[in-house]
């Protein structure tokens, strides 16, 4: 099978679905680029080039450049979704949700419920998150926790190209509101990706590696960090089961619980900030639903409770590292079930 980057996988998903369904449109700032300019149309293709060149095939009625006006663009996409289209709204950076949060939180996410089940809003908001680009405090946040918190929203967090394509196609075909979070640092990560369309259902975790001693739940880019840690731990005979939930809402609680019931130990790796985050969410769920299986404290490896710093030295220290994950795993390994009873 051909190797493709996440960027290409995403583009394929968009193109295939646009071909399949004339109601699928792309809306955003510079999703084509060049409108009202002296040069070429379509060479921008969104902040990461995912929609580059699409305007040639689909025209500017389906690849719609907007002014810088996120409330109007996300709201417009929501309104269009509620009236027959299947828009993919591109929000360059998830940080910009600050200026258009209402249109997700109070509008799109709540239509169906408020209207007694009589609205269908097949909206996808595709956005980019994460640190690592020295893009500092307003362009590096994760924020997926804020959307996981919102009833009515589904949150998709692919970690690899295969999942990215299948999940994005699922998102576009899905009749609910979906926020699709891509981590900016892994757009060039490659994988075997079929040329044709396929879907991956939401709420089904991927068991990245099977193991016996410790369960690690990791999200997005952190799946790779955790995997690095797992490889290194393996050398010391510590067997890690690594779970990539792929969607944080819905969350595949079952797979996590099943794994913890087997390993008895849980480390959660989340690049988000620590308060009311995904890590705490999963920890709390397990502390309620799989408590009796736990042999050790649940350790959360997260970013600190700070904005994302600019300087490389600081940003590198900010992002959870494989070393920190290893340390956490080693720590829970030192604790036995007996220690629990003894304490």
């Amino acid at each position: 099978m051909p190797k493709k980057s996440i960027r290409i996988a995403l583009q394929e998903a968009v193109v295939l679905e646009m071909r399949r369904d004339p109601n699928v449109i792309v809306i955003g700032e510079d999703v084509a680029g060049g409108a009202g300019c002296s040069g070429d149309r379509g060479t921008y293709g969104g902040a990461m080039g995912v929609t580059k060149g699409l305007i040639e095939e689909f025209g500017d009625e389906r690849v719609i450049d907007t002014p810088i006006t996120e409330s109007a663009l996300v709201g417009m996409a929501a309104g269009a979704a509620a009236t027959g289209l299947r828009p993919i709204a591109e929000l360059m950076f998830v940080d910009f949700m600050g200026v258009c949060f209402d249109q997700v939180l109070n509008q799109a996410a709540k239509f169906r419920y408020m209207f007694g089940g009589k609205a269908t809003t097949p909206l996808v908001v595709r956005t980019m998150m994460g640190a690592g680009f020295r893009a500092a405090a307003q362009h590096s946040q994760m924020l997926y926790n804020l959307f996981t918190a919102v009833p009515g929203v589904k949150c998709v967090i692919p970690s690899n190209a295969y999942d990215a394509k299948g999940l994005l196609i699922q998102a576009i075909r899905d009749d609910d509101v979906v926020i699709f979070f891509n981590h900016k640092a892994i757009y060039d990560f490659e994988d075997e990706v079929p040329d044709e369309a396929y879907t991956i259902p939401f709420g089904e975790a991927n068991i990245v590696r099977e193991g016996e001693d410790v369960t690690i739940v990791a999200f997005s880019r952190m799946v790779h960090t955790a995997n690095d840690a797992a490889k290194s731990l393996e050398k010391d005979g510590i067997s890690v089961e690594l779970i990539d939930p792929r969607t944080s809402s819905p969350l595949d609680e079952e797979s996590i619980i099943e794994s913890v019931e087997n390993t008895g130990r849980l480390v959660i790796v989340d690049e988000g900030t620590p308060r009311c985050g995904l890590a705490g969410d999963v920890a709390g769920m397990v502390a309620e639903k799989a408590f009796h299986a736990l042999k050790a404290p649940i350790i959360q490896v997260t970013a600190p409770h700070t904005p994302v710093p600019f300087s490389p030295v600081l940003e590198d220290a900010y992002i959870p590292s494989a070393a920190k994950v290893e340390e956490a795993v080693r720590k829970v390994m030192t604790m036995s079930r007996d220690a629990v009873s003894a304490s």
């Binding site: 109601n23 449109i25 009625e61 389906r62 719609i64 907007t66 002014p67 006006t69 409330s71 109007a72 663009l73 996300v74 709201g75 417009m76 996409a77 929501a78 309104g79 269009a80 979704a81 509620a82 009236t83 027959g84 289209l85 828009p87 209402d102 249109q103 109070n106 509008q107 239509f111 169906r112 419920y113 408020m114 209207f115 007694g116 089940g117 009589k118 609205a119 269908t120 009833p151 009515g152 589904k154 899905d174 009749d175 609910d176 939401f202 709420g203 819905p250």
Partner: protein, 322 residues
């Protein structure tokens, strides 16, 4: 394009339905049986009606927290509306929305909206939907004078011009955003002028004159249907009741609402005009009045008798699949 007799009778029926609905909700509300916040549209009937009488079910409207009038003008079932206000299972939204979220997608009523400025982006979305699908459908965004200051509203005006969307922005200037006067909160004192500066045709009309509203709306909607882009209408109007039911209205001269009802009543204006020029007869209008009195009576009786949702309904309708 003058409306024929049948159309005029339909218009009167709509305006009268809104008025009686709102006056009755005002009374019912004092019993404590209507839960939550209620904002009445009485006094502003000519706007919703003058605009929506030019629309079909395929056209969409974005509404406000003061949405009953828009609903009725857009053809929503009045009895189901009343049930919704009472929080009943057979309400228009199954009792989950209430007055501030009353909606009917099948009628193109995209929902009352309790976020001031929440709906203009949605309305342009509906307009985009029509444009992309190549229909001649349009969308109308209703906003108050207060909402006209919200960033979403301005952004939507600009977006509509940039994308040449079939969207009509109607500003219902009733002089108040809650307890603050439009004279204060609109810095330029000119809502319509601001909208025009975004690059669209704009008309100001007297919002208690149905015919003025209808004419301006028909023109703007026609432009939109012909693919000629968005327009704005500012309609000056009056709010008979307080901002919400229960509002002590200390910010308002005592009796101002009632005074308005006496001097600036769009229904009286309509009757005077159509009876005066002989287009309609008092018998015809009185018959409609009687019919509507009965309809609203029944609506209240049925709404009161209707069942509440079951507790199981709490968890449904969040997602289609999850």
């Amino acid at each position: 394009m003058a409306l024929d007799k049948e159309a005029l009778l339909a218009v009167y029926r709509t305006m009268q339905t809104i008025r009686v609905f709102e006056d009755r909700v005002h009374v019912e509300n004092t019993t404590g049986d209507i839960p939550g916040f209620v904002h009445l549209y009485a006094g502003e009937e000519a706007i919703a009606t003058g605009v929506c009488c030019n629309l079909t079910d395929a056209d969409a409207i974005g509404s406000t927290h003061r949405g009953h009038g828009h609903c009725i003008a857009k053809g929503c079932d009045v009895k189901a509306m009343m049930k919704e206000l009472f929080g009943k299972k057979e309400g228009l939204c199954g009792g989950k929305g209430g007055s501030m979220h009353i909606a009917d997608m099948e009628r193109g009523m995209l929902g009352a909206n309790a976020i001031v400025g929440g709906s203009p982006p949605l309305a342009i979305g509906a307009a985009l939907s029509h444009k992309t699908r190549g229909t001649d459908g349009v969308a109308v965004s209703f906003s108050g004078d207060g909402a006209s200051n919200q960033g979403t509203c301005f952004e939507s005006l600009n977006m509509a011009v940039v994308l040449k969307l079939p969207c009509i922005f109607v500003f219902e200037n009733n002089g108040f955003g809650e307890g603050t006067g439009a004279d204060y909160h609109v810095g330029s004192g000119d809502i319509g002028g601001r909208a025009a500066a975004f690059g669209m045709p704009m008309t100001k009309v007297d919002g208690v004159d149905f015919f003025a509203v209808q004419e301006a709306a028909a023109e703007a909607i026609g432009r939109a249907r012909r693919g000629e882009g968005p327009s704005a209408i500012e309609a000056d109007v009056v709010r008979f009741y307080g901002h919400y039911e229960g509002d002590p209205q200390g910010y308002r001269k005592k009796g101002e609402g009632d005074e308005m009802r006496a001097t600036r009543d769009c229904l009286k204006n309509f009757r005077d005009k159509t009876l005066g020029d002989g287009t309609l007869t008092a018998t015809e209008l009185d018959a409609i009045d009687a019919e509507i009195a009965q309809l609203i009576d029944e609506a209240v009786v049925e709404a009161r008798a209707a069942e509440f949702p079951s507790v199981n309904d709490l968890l449904t309708d969040v997602y289609i699949s999850y």
